[in-house]
């Protein structure tokens, strides 16, 4: 039998603190009443309101579209940027570019949001979908660069030489060797950018205009008028979706690993014959 340690107790405590608010929120999404003061009975009522609330659904879609588009474009730009920084020969220029990239990472969202607002109004750019998309792309690029660059640096220099040695052109070396080898980094960058865009509030709050809103901004403005249990229902659904994503990711990893193990075993059996 395993020994019971005080550290286990601590772990349980930490997870309780982390998950209790979410569980509380989920619990009250099934409340028949209108507030979180007391639980007056089970009901799907708030889910019904949510599904018939076309404004909320269009905002969810907006948020997803912005997140997908911005992270996709940022991944392309960021990956090219990382490749550019990697191939810069002069150390001073390289460090300069990297620092400029990192400054954007650490500067507060409020400042970035405010500066975008000033920038867009200065250019006479109308605030709305376009301005939100552009600013999301902009703050996602440094994230992608930061996720992809270490992967490129990990590549042994001889691997690129090997590709040339085997007759590949610069383009073939990029598409057949470098990009596939850094794919995990590119995916990580994409998902990071995606989540950053999904839950960004500060920047979006500045650059969004009339008639266009994302989830975080919408929930914030609703919460100011007193929390509506429809928000609870929405949060519950989003929590379940992310939970399913995590489980799916885990199962996919397990599946790939077991398939590889089987292949190794099969190959070994063949050799040992």
């Amino acid at each position: 039998m395993k020994k019971w340690h005080i550290s286990n107790l601590y772990l349980i405590f930490v997870f309780l603190v982390l998950y209790l608010p979410i569980i509380y929120l989920i619990f009250y999404s099934f409340n028949a009443g209108d507030t979180m003061d007391h639980f007056s009975g089970f009901s799907w009522r708030h889910y019904g309101t949510l599904l018939s609330d076309s404004r909320m659904i269009s905002i969810v879609l907006n948020t997803l579209i912005i997140a997908l588009l911005s992270s996709l474009i940022a991944t392309i730009v960021g990956t090219l940027g990382a490749l550019g920084i990697y191939s810069t020969k002069k150390a001073a220029v390289k460090n300069g570019l990297l620092s400029l990239n990192n400054v954007l990472m650490v500067s507060p969202d409020v400042i970035i949001g405010a500066s975008f607002l000033i920038f867009f109004t200065f250019l006479g750019f109308s605030l709305g979908f376009g301005s939100v998309l552009l600013s999301h792309i902009a703050f996602s690029i440094p994230i992608v660069v930061l996720m992809v660059l270490p992967k490129i640096n990990e590549l042994p220099a001889t691997m690129v030489d090997a590709a040339y040695d085997l007759g590949a052109t610069t383009w073939q070396t990029l598409t057949k060797v470098i990009l596939p080898a850094i794919t995990p980094g590119i995916f990580a960058g994409f998902f990071m950018a995606f989540t950053y865009s999904l839950d960004d509030f500060a920047v979006t709050f500045f650059v969004t205009g009339n008639g266009f809103s994302t989830l975080s901004v919408e929930i914030y403005s609703r919460a100011r008028q007193g929390v509506d249990l429809e928000v609870n229902a929405l949060s519950t659904l989003m929590f379940i979706v992310s939970l399913l994503l995590v489980v799916g990711y885990y199962l996919l990893g397990r599946y790939n690993q077991s398939r590889r193990m089987q292949r190794v075993k099969a190959a070994e059996a063949k050799i040992n014959q």
Partner: protein
């Protein structure tokens, strides 16, 4: 030379201010096993990179089958490289790695399949096509790297210290296999190593390098038996190097005595260095050999004893003997005139060859 595949003409290479290659001149003949041998930083890998096209010569010409190829990009050269760290593509499996070069050249799927399977068979990895690179051992990765290079049927195969990451036993095995592979394929191999034993065992021709220069080139036997200078004698094998004086042709004086030898062509009374290999020395009773020495240390190595001793002029002598002695004992050393090799100070390879011509 009609048969020359690669030729270097006065090639220099500098990185910033430091000179890595200094007036390199050599010719490589088709179908032979060449080794560039030297300590790390001597420029041997740089020569390989110049041939492969990964680096540019600062000055001088590099010729491939008589054509200057200084400007030809790496992907258009008919040479392939086996890298020190193998440089296999981790996202491709064994088959795809080997097929890479053929796919670039747009060869049909069926032809690729036959060629790759044949290459894998040559390196004894027939059943490994579907394996991931990460599932292979170091020795297996090594073989994949070799298969990936030879499948393209290059005119010249460049090998950059490919065995240095393997353990001793596997290295010995791969040495034999590489030599065998070279004979069967008839491709010119240019092998870079700092391991003199490896170079002697595998090569048709060795270039001994130090500090950006080729000091001596020749067959393993030539280089071992007639090293041109102190560096080569010391780097290749073990050697006893004692200062001496050339009395006249075929007579050398060292350790206060005259000895007959087989070297000539020096000035009378010229100061020289005398080389005698430890395995050429026989331990005999006191005063029955040519030199008397006192044993300082003795090391048992399995096949023999490695004995270190000193003579009355305090020259150090290394002796490999199957007979045991004891520390402090005075013994005689016997050797033949043929065992003595004389080296002049600062003799160039051309002068050395010319001098040998005069009396051999």
């Amino acid at each position: 030379m009609a048969n020359s595949v690669i030729e270097f003409r006065q090639v220099n290479k500098s990185f910033d201010e430091t000179k890595v290659l200094d007036e390199i001149d050599f010719e490589i003949e088709a179908g032979k096993f060449y080794t560039l041998l030297g300590p790390s930083g001597c420029g041997k890998t740089t020569i390989l990179r110049l041939i492969a096209g990964f680096a540019d010569a600062t000055s001088g010409d590099i010729l491939f089958e008589g054509q200057k190829i200084n400007e030809l990009p790496a992907n258009e050269r008919q040479v392939n490289t086996v890298f020190q760290d193998y440089a296999l593509f981790p996202h491709l499996n064994v088959f795809e790695n080997v097929a890479f070069g053929l796919e670039i050249r747009k060869i049909s799927k069926t032809e690729i399949k036959t060629a790759v399977n044949e290459a894998l068979k040559l390196v004894h990895l027939s059943d490994y096509g579907n394996r991931e690179i990460s599932e292979l051992s170091g020795g297996q990765q090594q073989r994949v790297a070799i298969a990936r290079a030879i499948v393209n049927e290059p005119k010249v195969l460049l090998l950059d210290e490919p065995l240095s990451a393997l353990d001793h036993k596997l290295r010995k095995e791969m040495q034999g296999e590489l030599r065998d592979l070279q004979r069967r394929l008839g491709i010119t191999f240019i092998f870079v190593t700092h391991d003199q034993e490896e170079a002697l065992a595998m090569s048709d021709q060795i270039f001994v390098m130090n500090a950006g220069k080729i000091l001596q080139s020749g067959s393993p036997v030539d280089i071992y038996d007639e090293p041109i200078n102190h560096f080569v004698a010391d780097f290749i094998g073990e050697s006893n190097i004692v200062p001496g004086k050339m009395q006249r042709d075929y007579v050398v004086n060292f350790d206060g005595q005259d000895f007959s030898c087989v070297d000539a062509g020096m000035k009378p009374n010229e100061a020289v260095e005398v080389v005698i290999r430890p395995e050429d020395l026989d331990i005999v009773a006191v005063d029955t050999g040519q030199v008397n020495v006192t044993v300082d240390t003795q090391l048992f190595r399995g096949v023999d004893y490695q004995i270190s001793a000193h003579d009355k002029m305090n020259n150090e002598w290394k002796i490999n003997s199957i007979h045991k002695t004891s520390v402090g004992q005075i013994v005689g050393l016997a050797f033949e005139p043929e065992d003595i090799h004389i080296m002049r100070y600062h003799e160039t390879e051309d002068d050395f060859d010319a001098r040998l011509e005069t009396y051999e």
